[in-house]
């Protein structure tokens, strides 16, 4: 099991090693020690690795992850799992701004709270936040699911496209063109599946409310000018 101690090894050495794992190599579990807020830890992985990061990280940890299962045993700075394509990223602590920004696929789980703009411009990623999320989350969210067990801040889902938002707690306010929608059977299934994949049990999907696009801003109309 390769172990990188970032108090000794450089970030470049770590990411080079993560990028050079060849198909068929069975030694695919990486431990990263002493991340101590380093930026760009474990970015651009394109293989089915498992990575345990033993501490808190700075900006863009697990950025553009494509296939790896990464656990951050601490909190994450801005842009954790930004533009993730596939795989899973779990943050055991809290996450700063832009968690999962523009993610195309995979699963991001945040055990604590996420700050503002969580899931901004998400394009297919699924996100589960056990705590609260900050303002302007899911801004221009295009596709994927955002499940929040706590509360959501102001302007949730502003200018949202086709992403689905599920919030168990209170929503401070909804953004432009974001409305509450009916929780149908398929939505209960989506939430139940994501909770299961996130390792969360004993939560009733009936406690969630669904939000999504009213689709009134999809084509410009002058009478909606004050909403743009």
């Amino acid at each position: 099991m390769p172990t990188f101690d970032l108090s000794i090894s450089s970030l470049r050495e770590l990411n080079t090693a993560l990028h050079q794992v060849e198909e068929g190599n069975n030694d695919i579990h990486f431990d990263i020690l002493n991340p101590r807020g380093h930026h760009a830890v474990a970015v651009g992985i394109a293989a089915h690795l498992t990575v345990d990061i033993k501490g808190s990280v700075g900006y863009y940890c697990a950025g553009m992850n494509d296939g790896a299962d990464i656990v951050i045993h601490g909190s994450a700075g801005p842009g954790v799992a930004e533009n993730i394509m596939s795989g899973t990223v779990v943050v055991e602590g809290d996450a700063s701004q832009y968690a999962g920004a523009t993610g195309h696929g995979g699963l991001l789980v945040i055990r604590g709270n996420a700050s503002s703009r969580c899931g901004i411009s998400m394009k297919g990623l699924d996100i589960v936040v056990q705590g609260n999320i900050g303002h302007m989350s899911a801004f221009m969210a295009q596709a994927g699911n955002l499940v929040v067990l706590g509360n959501a801040g102001d302007a949730l889902g502003d200018s949202i496209y086709e992403a689905r938002l599920f919030v168990r707690g209170r929503v401070e306010s909804l953004g432009s063109d974001c409305v509450e929608k009916e929780m149908r059977a398929e939505h209960h299934e989506i939430v139940a599946d994501l909770l299961r994949r996130a390792g969360i049990s004993n939560v009733d999907t009936a406690e969630f409310r669904r939000y999504g696009s009213a689709r009134k801003l999809y084509n410009f109309h002058v009478d909606n000018a004050d909403a743009y």
Partner: protein, 442 residues
Amino acid sequence: MSYVNPPTPPRKSATFDDATLAEIRRAAATGIYDIRGGGTKRKMPNFDDLLFLGASMSRYPLEGYREKCETNVVLGTRYAKKPIKLKIPITIAGMSFGSLSAPAKEALGRGATLAGTSTTTGDGGMTDEERAHSQTLVYQYLPSRYGMNPRDLRRADAIEVVIGQGAKPGGGGMLLGQKISDRVAEMRTLPKGIDQRSACRHPDWTGPDDLEIKIIELREITDWEKPIYVKVGGARPYYDTALAVKSGADVIVIDGMQGGTAATQDVFIEHVGLPTLACIRPAVKALQDLGMHRKVQLIVSGGIRSGADVAKALALGADAVSIGTAALVALGDNDPQWEEEYRKLGTTAGAYDDWHEGKDPAGITTQDPLLAARLDPISGGRRLANYLAVMTLEAQTIARACGKSHLHNLEPEDICALTLEAAAMAQVPLAGTSWFPGKGTF
């Protein structure tokens, strides 16, 4: 005694001219601002206001057909393991698949490759066609991140972080529903037929301190191989350049307001930004003040049309230029052969700018398969390569006349200005004087 007023011709207002009156009537009828493609159409100080002095008693010219004048340029020497090496200092600017048809993107790649230069993706991601036909392809990293993925990042030759463009500094992209075909919708993860609005700010960083970290992330993902460009619209070129250097850019692209766009509000195109001529010297000064001129390369774009424009931009300190609108014209945009169809659209060849409507008779700014089929990417690529060759020959002709064995040896001392405005912006003497506004006393 009767008195008859002599007839006087009707006089129209200079303030309320015909175009202004028409726009007021259009606005009153529709309730929506005018959207169009292209760059500013207003007259403004530009490269035509500069002249080269040529060799004389104090300068020794090079023989036009015998002595070599080099044109190559290397971009990305600051940090990238694999800098880009181009035969000519004229690159093709970012234009998206979506705003342009797939054959048009292919033609741009073919033409650039024949000429030994690079082409650039746009808002909407990289298509296989343009990658396959572009020897050197720059991958734009835009606020929307449509189609952004690490695989394309790795198969690009350089990455261009787009902060703004000259036609609309401070504005995001716009692609109206008529052009959101199935393929465009899939690449952008959007419903078909919607009016797509790209964000004007990046979703996961704010300001140069964050950008510095973002660039480190991009370098780590691509193992520090790719040159990273930062593109800004002409606004505050001195500070934008300085901050881009601080953020870790290998190359800075400054796009003046003559630069085109696929679609945005006319009021944005005509009233926001700086003329290209006004952008170059402040950007070069910022690089010089930081000791980074020629180490961080500068690409200038926005209204470059000829080898003379290329030579002037390089003489003012740019390392290369980029063309967009001119490249489309070389492919066949606004060609008089389609005049009958332009008239049906209420316009004329040379004035067609409703690129957002997707009805381009030349088949370039469209997603309509029948119209797009009008452009043969092979012959289109050949025309672009021819045009690039002519521009290069023209720039070499001027450089040799100034006694320069490389286009990069052109310098501000080779130029004078025809107008006070151009003299002030380019910081070169008014013709026949040794003075320009801001230099000493008159």
